[in-house]
C-alpha cells in the first residue's frame, strides 16, 4: 500500500493557445471506501494561478494552506502578483524543506504569467523536483492511464473550448480505469480575461 494512493485522486493540466486548463477528480475516499464526491483538489492561488494537490488528503489541505501563507506574504512584501514559475520555485523549496519527512502530495501548477499571459504548467514529485514540459502534466493514482490519454489527445495550439474538451476527456477516460479516482470531475480553463470552471458528468463508480 502506497501512502500516495491511500486516498487516490487524479489531476491533469494542459497548455493551449494563450490559455491553460487544469482538472481534477472529485473523489475523497479511504482505500476502498468512498466518502465524498465533492472533494476538489485544485485550488485558485491567484487570478491566473491554479495549484493541484493530489495525494494524501490531509497533506492536500495542509500544503494548500501553508503555500497560501507564503504566497500572501510574498505578494504583500513585493507589491505584485507572483509569476507561475516563481510560485513553482516556492512550492519546490517548501517540499524540499521536508526532505526526510515529506508531504505526501505531488503538486501540479497551471497558470498564465501575470505580465505576458504566457501559459505555464509544471508538476513535481513529493520532494520538489520540478518538471516543466511544453505540453501537459499529470499526477495522482492513475498517472499511467493519464499519460496514455494525454499523449493521444493533446496537440499544440488548442483554443480554450477545444482545450476544455481535450482535458476533460483525457481525465475522465483515464480515471474510469482507476478504482481510486473518479466520482465526478471539475475542469478550469484559464484565459487572459476569464476563468471558466465546469463540472463534468461522469460514471459515479
Amino acid at each position: 500500500m502506497s501512502i500516495l494512493s491511500y486516498n487516490g485522486g487524479a489531476i491533469v493540466a494542459m497548455k493551449g493557445e494563450n490559455c491553460v486548463a487544469i482538472a481534477s477528480d472529485l473523489r475523497f475516499g479511504i482505500q476502498a471506501q468512498t466518502l465524498a464526491m465533492d472533494f476538489e483538489k485544485v485550488f485558485e492561488m491567484g487570478p491566473h494561478l491554479f495549484l493541484g494537490l493530489p495525494g494524501l488528503a490531509t497533506d492536500t489541505l495542509t500544503v494548500r494552506d501553508r503555500l497560501k501563507f507564503r504566497l500572501n506574504l510574498y505578494e504583500l512584501r513585493e507589491s505584485r502578483k507572483i509569476h507561475p514559475k516563481t510560485f513553482a520555485a516556492v512550492v519546490s523549496n517548501m517540499l524540499y524543506e521536508k526532505r526526510f519527512g515529506p508531504y505526501f502530495v505531488e503538486p501540479v501548477i497551471a497558470g498564465l504569467d501575470p505580465k505576458t499571459f504566457e501559459p505555464y504548467v509544471c508538476n513535481m514529485d513529493l520532494i520538489g523536483c520540478i518538471n516543466e514540459p511544453e505540453d501537459f502534466v499529470v499526477a495522482g493514482s492513475c498517472t499511467e492511464q493519464l499519460y496514455g490519454m494525454c499523449e493521444a489527445l493533446w496537440e499544440p495550439g488548442l483554443k480554450p473550448d477545444d482545450l476544455f474538451e481535450t482535458c476533460a476527456q483525457a481525465l475522465v477516460n483515464a480515471f474510469d480505469r482507476d478504482a481510486m479516482s473518479g466520482w465526478g470531475a471539475i475542469v478550469h480553463v484559464i484565459e487572459k480575461d476569464k476563468i471558466t470552471s465546469r463540472r463534468v458528468k461522469t460514471r459515479m463508480d
Binding site: 512584501r77 513585493e78 514559475k85 516563481t86 520555485a89 516556492v90 523549496n93
Partner: protein, 234 residues
C-alpha cells in the same frame, strides 16, 4: 557578543523624542568620505572618494564600491568595518532569496531586508547602530533603482543624492545638474564633477571609485575606464 549579556537596548529615547545614538551615528556618517549616486535613464552610477591616510596606503587593495549581486551594487559613507558587515549581510540575503525563488532579488526587496537589519541594531540588546549610510543601486523590471539606507533603518529612493562630508553642497550641486533624460555616461560625468566639488588635491583614477549598474548588470569601473572619464573633466 555583547548582545548575549545585555537584554536591554542601548539606544533609548531622549525627553525630546530623539534616539540620540542614531543622531550620533548620522554624525559619524557626515564625517565620512563623500559618496554620490545618480540615476540615469538607462542605468545608475555610484561613486566615492578614497582618502588614504598616508601615501604608503595601497589604494587598490580595499574597495568601497562593492557588488552585492549581479545586478546590485553599493557604496557608503561612514565607518568601513560596519559597512563590510552590511555588505556581507546584503550578499547573503540576496543569495537566500535566489535559493527560494530561483530568481534575482528585486533591488527594493534587498534594500528592505538590509534596512531591517540596520533597524534591529537600534532596538536590540547590547548593540549600537551602524555608523554608515548606504547607497544601493540596482537594475530590475527594466529600470534603474537608487536607494539610501540610514543607520536608523530608514530608506529613501533617490534620483540623485550625495552623502558624507558636506553632503548638502553635493545635493545642491546635483539639484542644479540633474534632469530625467541623463544618459549613463553623462551621469558618470556629473557624479565625478560632484565629487570634485570640495575635493582636496588632484583627482586621479586611484583616489576615486566608480560603479555603474545597467541592463547588463553591476560592475565597478577599472582605473583605466575611470581615467577616460576624468580626461573629460576640466
Amino acid at each position: 557578543m555583547a548582545s548575549e549579556r545585555y537584554s536591554f537596548s542601548l539606544t533609548t529615547f531622549s525627553p525630546s523624542g530623539k534616539l540620540v545614538q542614531i543622531e550620533y551615528a548620522l554624525a559619524a556618517v557626515e564625517a565620512g568620505a563623500r559618496s554620490v549616486g545618480i540615476k540615469a535613464s538607462n542605468g545608475v552610477v555610484i561613486a566615492t572618494e578614497k582618502v588614504p591616510k598616508s601615501i604608503l596606503v595601497d589604494e587598490h587593495s580595499v574597495h568601497r564600491v562593492e557588488e552585492v549581486s549581479k545586478h546590485i551594487g553599493m557604496v557608503y559613507s561612514g565607518m568601513g568595518p560596519d559597512y563590510r558587515l552590511l555588505v556581507k549581510t546584503a550578499r547573503k540575503k540576496a543569495q537566500q532569496y535566489s535559493l527560494v525563488y530561483q530568481e534575482e532579488i528585486p533591488t527594493a526587496q534587498l534594500v528592505q531586508r538590509v534596512a531591517s537589519v540596520m533597524q534591529e541594531y537600534t532596538q536590540s540588546g547590547g548593540v549600537r547602530p551602524f555608523g554608515v549610510s548606504l547607497l544601493i543601486c540596482g537594475w530590475d523590471n527594466d529600470r534603474p533603482y537608487l536607494f539610501q539606507c540610514d543607520p536608523s533603518g530608514a530608506y529613501f529612493a533617490w534620483k540623485a543624492t550625495a552623502m558624507g562630508k558636506n553632503y548638502n553642497n553635493g545635493r545642491t550641486f546635483l539639484e542644479k545638474r540633474y534632469n530625467e533624460d541623463l544618459e549613463l555616461d553623462d551621469a558618470v560625468h556629473t557624479a565625478i564633477l560632484t565629487l570634485k566639488e570640495g575635493f582636496e588635491g588632484q583627482m586621479t583614477a586611484d583616489n576615486i571609485e566608480v560603479g555603474i549598474c545597467d541592463a547588463t548588470g553591476f560592475r565597478r569601473l577599472d582605473p583605466n575606464s575611470v581615467k577616460d572619464y576624468l580626461a573629460n573633466i576640466p
